[in-house]
């Protein structure tokens, strides 16, 4: 007996060492408390184990155990956000593999196994999950999709999905849809692997979101480590659960600190700043529940679940079944769902923290056609209600009147397009001939180009003054002087073209460059950035731009320290209240709705206000049956200061875009200057028609982030429009000077007879 205890004590010592290391992980090193000394004691004990007397050994073991317990309680009492992040990152934390083994009864990995895998960071498995109802066992088939961080295996890539890994996930989501089985999605990723290789990190995430928006099976997601866009790639779900010691964030605390502290590449980011950012980002489960970006928290042990916390897995299994039940029941009837949900509450009260994993009833997870439809509708409703971290200014009477007009208009369009569609085609034809949208298409094929030409070389206009009837007083070049001229042109100096060495471009005189040349180097065609106002003036028919929803403004929903001042500065600098401008406009008389992200306001980052305005513009395009143009002057990604409220705009906006496109809308995205990260990986990248303006850069992460994540340098032209075209991210590259003409042609070619498919 004693001999066994002595042998067991070896096991204890190993366990002690694990516990000490785990605490060190959480506290960021052995320096905290007396961890180092304690570990030394464990190591000493291990080497002297057989030299000590038995009772001495047990006393020592007991002391260490008690000391450890004390320290664990101490740590658990006051976990800071950065410590939660450390828990998630600890190699001792449970992984998807543990869940598959402990929560599911059997599983078969699909699309690769272990290292032999298109992307070992993404695991897909066909699995069965069981439920006990009064001692009877029922089996459910599900598709499990998730990230596998592994226990230190290099090939798992820390759970960072490559584009083809996300593609694999999407492929099996579609399999699940075909088979009509629910999807359980497990998010364990610090972020997507930021490479542009085909199909590209951003493009693939966008495609996933676009499909998940209307996936016709229940999806339940569980978040342990929710790293921004990488999490969203498999995270658009009907119910989102989150581990109590998990984190879900727009960016890693270190990344946020580097941006906030303007730390140069390779520079040391102060630890205090990282901790500060971790707190500001509101990334814990409680924070996210408050922000409504998750639906429920699954309780872990106070210091987080490790791979041997079997009780946790038991609970997780119960919760996953439960959540799937709820999604299914919601599609059936509200009452069934209510009573089911109420029962659960009662049960929790009764049992407190110890719980019963038995179910009262068995619920089948297959859905009828009408239930599937309802499922998708409910998902739409759910996401539309999320992420509302913006402010609404009180509207004046006048604009409220405008709102009334809007709703009347909506009725008009509902009748015109909704009802008429049911009627005979002849009536519709008659409408076509009298309405502008229809008549545009009736013109001959040569007409458009002519119109385009007339715009560039208009017939001489009648001038004022003595020579009123003399057409010669105005040269054919008059138009260019009447047009908007960039304020950049107002300086007597020259600038160098970045391609001067390659193409021998001469220094450009600024008034020429930003005036007549539209910011384009006449030698090599390099596009110098121009302010967004230039596009407002030169892209659309003069006077046709009518902005709307100006009353939705950016705010600081997380109360991120220092952000109020930054926001104030942006407002003062731009005279605008968000990074997006949404408006009605026309291009050669074709009416379109436009959303424009521009650089001057917080680098065109997307937060709640931007997402909401985008959604409203997209809906407006849908109700008025107009093409929808997203012109991206620049976007720096999701606004980190809005945390997951910003991240949630990715699935939200994509979902609305999907609905627009499904209803027959023509959605065109044009990228200019720099377009990166979240927006590209969602509501922009999902467009079937994406175009880059020359000299623009398009991608998921910038060169610095790529270097820091992958350790590899990327070529200077890695994100160039030309390479984006090569990889198939965009369909073409447009010259700025021909933007208007190309846009018109694109609308004519890609649009249906009404510039709207159905």
């Amino acid at each position: 007996m004693d001999q066994k205890r002595i042998l067991d004590s070896g096991k204890y010592l190993n366990e002690f060492a694990d516990r000490i290391n785990y605490l060190a992980d959480i506290k960021g090193g052995l320096e905290w408390g007396s961890l180092k000394e304690l570990l030394q004691r464990v190591q000493n004990l291990r080497s002297n184990m057989f030299d000590l007397r038995e009772d001495e050994l047990f006393v020592e073991l007991d002391q260490i155990d008690r000391r450890l317990e004390y320290m664990e309680d101490l740590v658990a009492q006051d976990l800071s956000p950065i410590e939660v992040v450390n828990i998630v990152r600890s190699p001792q934390r449970f992984t998807l593999q543990d869940i598959l083994e402990n929560c599911y009864d059997s599983f078969t990995e699909l699309g690769g196994e272990g290292e032999c895998n298109i992307d070992p960071a993404v695991v897909v498995a066909r699995a069965t999950i069981t439920r006990r109802v009064k001692n009877k066992i029922y089996y459910h088939q599900v598709m499990v999709i998730g990230h596998e961080k592994g226990y230190g295996e290099e090939f798992r890539n820390g759970g960072c999905a490559k584009p083809w890994g996300n593609e694999k996930a999407l492929r099996y989501m579609k399999v699940a849809e075909t088979e009509g089985i629910p999807i359980h999605s497990y998010i364990f990723t610090p972020g997507a692997y930021p490479i542009e290789d085909y199909p590209g990190a951003a493009q693939q995430i966008a495609r996933n979101l676009f499909q998940m928006a209307r996936l016709r099976v229940p999806v339940v997601a569980f978040i342990s480590e929710g790293g921004s866009g990488g999490a969203e790639a498999i995270g658009l779900a009907d119910i989102r659960l989150m581990a109590s010691r998990g984190y879900y964030s727009v960016i890693s605390p270190e990344g946020a600190a580097a941006i906030e502290g303007r730390i140069k590449e390779g520079g040391k980011v102060p630890r205090e700043l990282v901790e500060h950012c971790a707190a500001q980002l509101k990334m814990t489960a409680e924070d996210n529940l408050k922000l409504k970006t998750i639906d429920r928290i699954i309780q872990e042990p106070p210091l987080g679940a490790r791979r041997n916390n079997f009780g946790f897995f038991k609970q997780l299994r119960y919760e996953m079944v439960r959540a799937t039940d709820e999604v299914v029941l919601q599609t059936k009837s509200f009452r069934a769902f209510r009573s089911y949900a109420l029962k659960r509450q009662g049960k929790e009260k009764d049992n407190g923290r110890t719980f019963n994993d038995e179910f009262d009833i068995h619920i089948k997870w297959s859905l009828t056609e009408s239930e599937k439809k309802r499922l998708v509708e409910l998902r739409s409703r759910k996401y539309r209600a999320l992420g509302k971290g913006y402010k609404e200014l009180r509207q004046s009477v006048l604009s409220r009147l405008g709102h009334a007009v809007e709703s009347v208009k909506q009725n008009y369009y509902d009748i015109r397009y909704g009802l008429l569609r049911q009627h005979s085609r002849q009536v519709q034809k008659l409408i076509e001939e009298v309405s502008s949208e229809g008549s545009v298409f009736l013109k001959t094929v040569t007409e458009p180009v002519r119109e385009a030409y007339d715009f560039v070389f208009p017939k001489p206009k009648v001038a004022n003054g003595i020579n009123q009837y003399d057409p010669l007083r105005k040269s054919i070049f008059m138009q260019e002087w009447e047009q908007y001229i960039s304020p950049l042109a107002n300086e007597d100096k020259t600038v160098s073209c970045p391609n001067a060495e390659k193409y021998g471009c001469k220094d450009l005189w600024v008034p020429d460059l930003y005036g007549e040349f539209s910011g384009v180097c006449p030698t090599c065609g390099h596009h110098f950035p121009l302010e967004y106002q230039w596009y407002l003036e030169n892209l659309f028919d003069p006077g046709s731009v009518r902005e709307f929803n100006q009353h939705i403004i950016s705010a600081n929903p997380l109360k991120f320290q220092g952000f109020d001042e930054k926001l104030k500065k942006a407002v003062e600098h731009t005279g605008r209240r968000s990074a997006i401008i949404t408006f009605d406009a026309s291009v050669f008389d074709i009416k379109i709705v436009v959303a424009m992200l521009y650089s001057d306001f917080r680098s065109g980052t997307v937060g709640s206000a931007e997402g909401e305005k985008f959604i409203r513009a997209c809906d407006r395009a849908r109700t008025t049956r107009r093409p929808f143009l997203a012109y991206i002057h620049t976007t720096g990604g999701i606004r980190i200061h809005e945390g997951t409220l910003g991240v949630i705009q990715m699935p939200r906006c994509t979902l609305v875009v999907r609905e627009y496109i499904d209803s027959g809308g023509l959605y065109i995205v044009v990228y200019d200057n720099n377009s990166y990260a979240g927006p590209v990986a969602s509501f922009l990248g999902c467009s079937p028609y994406q175009v880059g303006i020359r000299s623009s850069r398009i991608g998921f992460a910038g060169p610095r982030v790529i270097r820091e994540t992958t350790g590899a340098d990327v070529p200077p032209d890695y994100h160039s429009a030309k390479n984006a075209l090569k990889r198939g991210h965009i369909q073409g590259i447009w010259d700025r000077r021909e933007f208007r003409k190309n846009l018109f042609e694109a609308l004519m070619t890609m649009g249906g007879p009404h510039l709207y498919y159905k």
Partner: protein, 493 residues
């Protein structure tokens, strides 16, 4: 936005130009090379104006650099990287305090952006040439044609704006063929051009209406591919014509005079002029099947009409085509001084004014805001003048340029002869490979055409040019070709 318009129009600056009377304070930067630089220097000298020249590494041995440094010292010549880089010109201009820029011909002479920049920059510099708006508006052939049509000035029949519709194009083509047939033209033909093109690219001749559609589509596709604009121009294809020019001089005070006409029909295959003669026609020398004097009067009148309409304000050349039956058509306007300006000056006399006419001098004077101080009635014409352009080129091999080192360059000295060259007489000269191998310009004057011809040939016979290329082969020039072509001047062959 308002501010940026300000930079494009500066009424105050224009006013100062008008008020300025003492030209002598000006300092001219000569933004050109070779013989024109030398002629501009001479004009400056005559006007008592200071000047500086610029040169590139390749041109360091060029005569214009030597002449400038000999006369004004080392500080009168600045080495720049490229004659075609406007930034270099302005940089040197500011450094040496130049107040006016003479662009010569080629390079910036017809670059309205350069002229505009000179005028509107923070430190304005007078551009010796017309107002930039005029350069711009007459720089476009389509625009010029449009204005001419409005003023009832004959232009080559055809479209005066790009055509985008095939039906429209075909109708116009048919009309042009019909018109030529009515005029009794035996082999009528039309040209189909890409509107955005230039320099001979995207042009095809159509001789039968049947193939028009095919050619039209080809050019349209070409234009779309090449220039991104599928606009096409259609015009009558002119054959068998003389190339005439009208020399005008206008001041900033709405004064307009002309210095007669020139005939520049003799050209190399690349449409480069080789022998020019003034006046444009000489009915006393050769018989024309039309009233030549009347045609000359007509084209002068038309040219003046257009100049007045656009308020032209410097020297300019109106290029005309005159067909064998004496019909003139306006081709284009060159808003600059031309190489051959001096043959017009050579046959012109201004009463009450001493010495020969120098059009470059007049150009500088008027550009700096002076009045002409004479009118058309003070200008008379006397004799015939021929210009010969001596070029190191192989006429037999498609006028291929020759390059190498010139070891001997001698020509006679005569009172009836003026030779301009940047090639030094006293030391070997390597022709820079970066520029055209023009060697010299000879201007011959005679009491009448016959005498001018004899003198021209005499000059060519007595001129000696020797040199060899890197392989030791002797120099090739066009002296023999010029001698042969002198016989062809002013005749319809």
């Amino acid at each position: 936005m308002q501010a940026s318009q300000q930079i494009y129009s500066s009424p105050k600056k224009t006013a100062t130009i008008f008020l300025k009377n003492i030209v002598k304070r000006d300092k001219i930067i000569i933004a050109n090379r070779g013989e024109i630089a030398i002629r501009i220097m001479r004009a400056c000298r005559q006007l008592g104006l200071d000047y500086v020249v610029v040169y590139t590494e390749e041109d360091r041995c060029s005569g214009h650099v030597r002449a400038a440094t000999v006369e004004k010292g080392e500080d009168a010549a600045f080495k720049i990287s490229n004659y075609k880089d406007p930034n270099e010109i302005f940089s040197v201009a500011d450094h040496c305090g130049a107040t006016a820029i003479h662009p010569g011909y080629g390079f910036f002479s017809e670059d309205f952006r350069f002229a505009r920049r000179a005028t509107v920059r923070n430190r304005p510099i007078s551009f010796i040439g017309p107002r930039w708006e005029v350069i711009r508006d007459l720089g476009s052939k389509i625009n010029t044609k449009r204005i001419a049509k409005f003023l009832d000035i004959p232009v080559i029949p055809g479209s005066d704006e790009p055509i985008y519709s095939e039906i429209e194009a075909e109708a116009l083509a048919e009309e042009l063929f019909q018109k030529q047939r009515e005029e009794g033209i035996k082999r009528p033909s039309i040209l189909v051009k890409a509107s955005a093109g230039g320099g001979g690219m995207g042009i095809e001749e159509v001789t039968h209406l049947d193939v028009f559609r095919q050619v039209y589509r080809r050019i349209q596709n070409y234009a779309k591919r090449q220039f991104g604009d599928e606009g096409v121009l259609i015009e009558q294809c002119m054959k068998d014509y003389h190339h005439l020019e009208v020399q005008l001089l206008c001041s900033r005070h709405k004064e307009v005079v002309h210095f007669g006409t020139r005939n520049c029909t003799i050209q190399s295959t690349g449409r480069q002029k080789r022998v020019e003669v003034a006046p444009g026609f000489d009915p006393e020398y050769v018989h024309y099947p039309f009233d030549a004097a009347k045609v000359l009067d007509e084209i002068v009148d038309y040219s003046i009409r257009l100049a007045k309409e656009v308020e032209y304000d410097n020297v300019g050349t109106w290029e005309w085509i005159v067909t064998r039956d004496g019909k003139p058509y306006l081709l284009e306007v060159n808003t600059r001084i031309q190489v051959e300006n001096e043959i017009s000056a050579c046959i012109s006399r201004i009463s009450r004014q001493k010495g020969p006419v120098n059009l470059i001098k007049e150009q500088i004077r008027t550009a700096l805001g002076e009045k002409l101080r004479y009118s058309q009635k003070h200008i008379t014409f006397e004799g015939t003048s021929i210009e010969l352009r001596i070029v190191a080129e192989d006429v037999k091999r498609g006028f291929a340029p020759w390059c190498g080192t010139i070891t001997r360059f001698e020509f006679p000295q005569e009172p009836w002869l003026r030779v301009y060259t940047h090639v030094p007489h006293d030391e070997p000269y390597e022709i820079p490979t970066e520029y055209d191998p023009n060697l010299a310009l000879a201007i011959v004057w005679g009491q009448d055409t016959e005498e001018a011809k004899i003198r021209a040939k005499d000059f060519l016979t007595r001129t000696r040019i020797e040199g060899e290329d890197s392989l030791g082969k002797p120099i090739v020039t066009n002296l023999a070709y010029l001698k042969q072509k002198v016989d062809d001047v002013l005749r319809f062959l």
